[in-house]
Amino acid sequence: MTRLLEVRDLRVQFRTRDGIAEAVGGVSYGVDAGRTLAVLGESGSGKSVTAQAVMGILDSPPGRITGGEVLFRGRDLLTMRAEQRRRIRGAAMAMIFQDALSALNPVITVGAQLAEMYEVHRGMSRGDAQRRAVELMDRVRIPAAGQRAGDYPHQFSGGMRQRIMIAMAMALEPDLIIADEPTTALDVTVQAQVMDLLAELRREYAMGLVLITHDLGVVADVADTIAVMYAGRIVETAPVRDLYRRPAHPYTRGLLDSVPRVDHGGGQARRGHADHGRHGGHESHGVHGAHRGGKLYAIRGAPPSPLTMPSGCPFHPRCPRAQEVCRVERPPLYEVTTDAGTDAVANTGADTESGIGSGIGSDGRTSACHFWKEELHA
């Protein structure tokens, strides 16, 4: 069965003053209709650049896609003619951005912006298009949609603007939506409303959703599968529950442990960490006040610059589990099995095809860590 969207070994470079930076270094992921894939990563991990390359809105120059395939229903978007691609982008794929205010035209009423989608792509008359626009605003639960259609974007609150963005993306009932940090700029209570709306619409229209975020909490509620990115590569892919229960990559584990939780007071030592002595920051700490949490687990250091990528595993300078092999040898994407069996399915670069076929293609788990087994059983 062909997947709705499949990204294979995508590579993006950026030409900079100081040299060529590989922002995305061989990323593969896929999503099926009606499912949600969350791409989780910190700033600079390449998660947004990957999405821009998939949507075909990468700024080039300075960016350049240097390899890989983006298959939409089995057809490679990257080799397609521009006109053909534009048609798919308009109708079958849509994107939601973080900053709704700058993504909407400030001098056109939101009703007219929505109606324009129908006029241009569906050839509707102005009156019909207007009516559909109001319906759509109603659908994303904008109160008094009929009256507010005549308002300009700045007259809406942040949450309402994000709803309008969602309405724009939904207008042509696309098969795939890519949402890049859709709720990052919003307040918690509004964030919850918008995420719920997005999840509901995805269910209703059986769309595929690629949710790009840095927020571990948002992901946990809505995603089916999670791909964790670090330094331009995917380091782990897993169904959501497995990832949170038993991460198979030290970076994932570090991320999960370094966020304080609102539902847990105090001690954060929820998971075992390899080698307590070597990475400081996990030793039990004299809790100061009566009700303050102890020391958080902290991943040491900061993410690398794409210009000076460490040798071997890009995470090794920050990794508590790193050995000599990690410094020398780039870990392939291993297929993660919960029993003892293990096989390297891909040697990144040389033999990525097989990795996609068996590893990511299924709902199986992958991890780009030489010691994933130890991590899984830690």
Binding site: F14, R15, T16, R17, D18, G19, A21, A23, E42, S43, G44, K47, S48, V49, A51, D59, P62, G63, F97, Q98, D99, S102, D180, E181, T184, A185, L186, I212, H214, R278, H279, G280, G281, H282, E283, K295, A298, R300, G301, A302, P303, P304, S305, P306, L307, T308, P310, S311, H316, P317, R318, C319, A322, Q323, E324, C326, R327
Partner: protein
């Protein structure tokens, strides 16, 4: 723009004495000492920074190596900058030492040769009074450059001081100053020049400089005011205030160095227009006056003879055009290099 992609990276890794993961090995005892909180700088830059919900791509994106070194890096590779800078350098040199390339006397006239065309040793020909046009064109650079630089300095200093104070203190002082600036904006330059300068009898450059400063400072003060208002809101200025820093200290240490870039850009472009303004005023007879050698004066006297001796007009006019163009090109190049929005 979901995640502003800043294409300017740091190469600070190269200067980090701590080295980094590349050679440090997996087990780095220096970095994992007994104190977990001490992570020695290993990776010094986050090239893609994400600031949720904040203004995107705003004017203050001080990644990279800093505004000035980035700008210099850009300028060195900009042919427009190199060409205009070389022209300006040449003009400044001949303004100071005109005898370097012109051995004659700009005042020496030989009426017998009045309006003659080019002759050996006199490539540009002669003017109405039989003076050598080449020599006069070379000597004319001094007046133009002097007026341009002095007027720009004066307008920039006055304008940024007044504008900067207005922007920093705000309130009634700001309102008053803005209205005064509006009044000066409202004066038509030529009309003002004819009225103010016709009462001056001195033939030196200073009345002209003074007049241009008088009409030029409001433009600079507006730019300076806006720039200061922007910088004033930055957290580092708030931090200084929270520390109890005095207004003078805050202005000089924190605001001025960060607000000066737009003023420099505007002043550089204004320099070119001031030079042409001087020529215009001299042409009209209210700017510089003979015996001062000035392109404007020469153009004025040549204008009546344009049919029978066009060379008299063309050489000083050409020199003027090239000079103004060079300064405006320089200003453009500097603006491109300093304005982060164009990056």
């Amino acid at each position: 723009m979901p995640e502003p992609f800043d294409t300017r990276y740091d190469m600070t890794e190269a200067i980090a004495p701590a080295g980094g993961g590349g050679g440090g090995g997996a087990v780095d005892p220096a970095a994992s000492g007994p104190q977990g909180l001490k992570d020695r700088p290993r990776r010094l830059t986050l090239p893609w920074r994400k600031e949720p919900g904040r203004r995107l791509g705003g004017p203050a994106a001080p990644t990279g190596r800093g505004l000035w070194s980035d700008a210099w890096h850009d300028l060195r590779r900009n042919p427009v900058f190199i060409v205009s800078a070389l022209i300006i350098l040449f003009l400044v040199v001949i303004a100071i030492w005109p005898q370097l390339i012109a051995s004659g006397n700009p005042y020496h006239g030989d009426l017998a040769r009045a309006q003659d065309g080019p002759a050996p040793g006199h490539p540009f020909g002669y003017d109405l009074q039989g003076r050598d046009v080449y020599t006069r064109t070379v000597y004319g650079a001094r007046a133009s450059i002097t007026v341009g630089i002095c007027a720009t300095l004066g307008a920039a200093l006055l304008g940024s001081a007044l504008g900067g104070l207005a922007g920093y203190f705000g309130g009634w002082w700001d309102a008053l100053l803005s209205r005064i600036a509006d009044v000066f904006f409202g004066i038509p330059i030529l009309l003002g020049g004819l009225v103010f300068l016709s009462v001056v009898t001195s033939g030196s450059v200073w009345p002209v400089v003074g007049f241009i400063v008088l009409l030029g400072w409001p433009q600079i003060s507006r730019i300076a005011r806006g720039s200061v208002v922007t910088v004033k809101e930055h957290d580092y200025v708030q931090a200084a205030r929270a520390l109890g820093a005095s207004s003078g200290r805050t202005l000089l240490r924190h605001i001025a160095p960060n607000a000066v870039a737009p003023v420099i850009v505007v002043a550089t472009i204004a320099l070119g227009t001031y030079i042409s303004l001087e020529a215009t005023l001299s042409f009209l007879g209210v700017g510089l006056k003979p015996p001062t050698v000035s392109w404007g004066i020469d153009i004025s006297s040549a204008a009546t003879q344009i049919r029978n001796a066009p060379h008299m007009l063309l050489w000083p006019a050409g020199a003027l055009s090239i000079t103004v163009l060079a300064f405006i090109m320089l200003g453009d190049a500097v603006r491109d290099a300093l304005d982060p929005k164009l990056r």
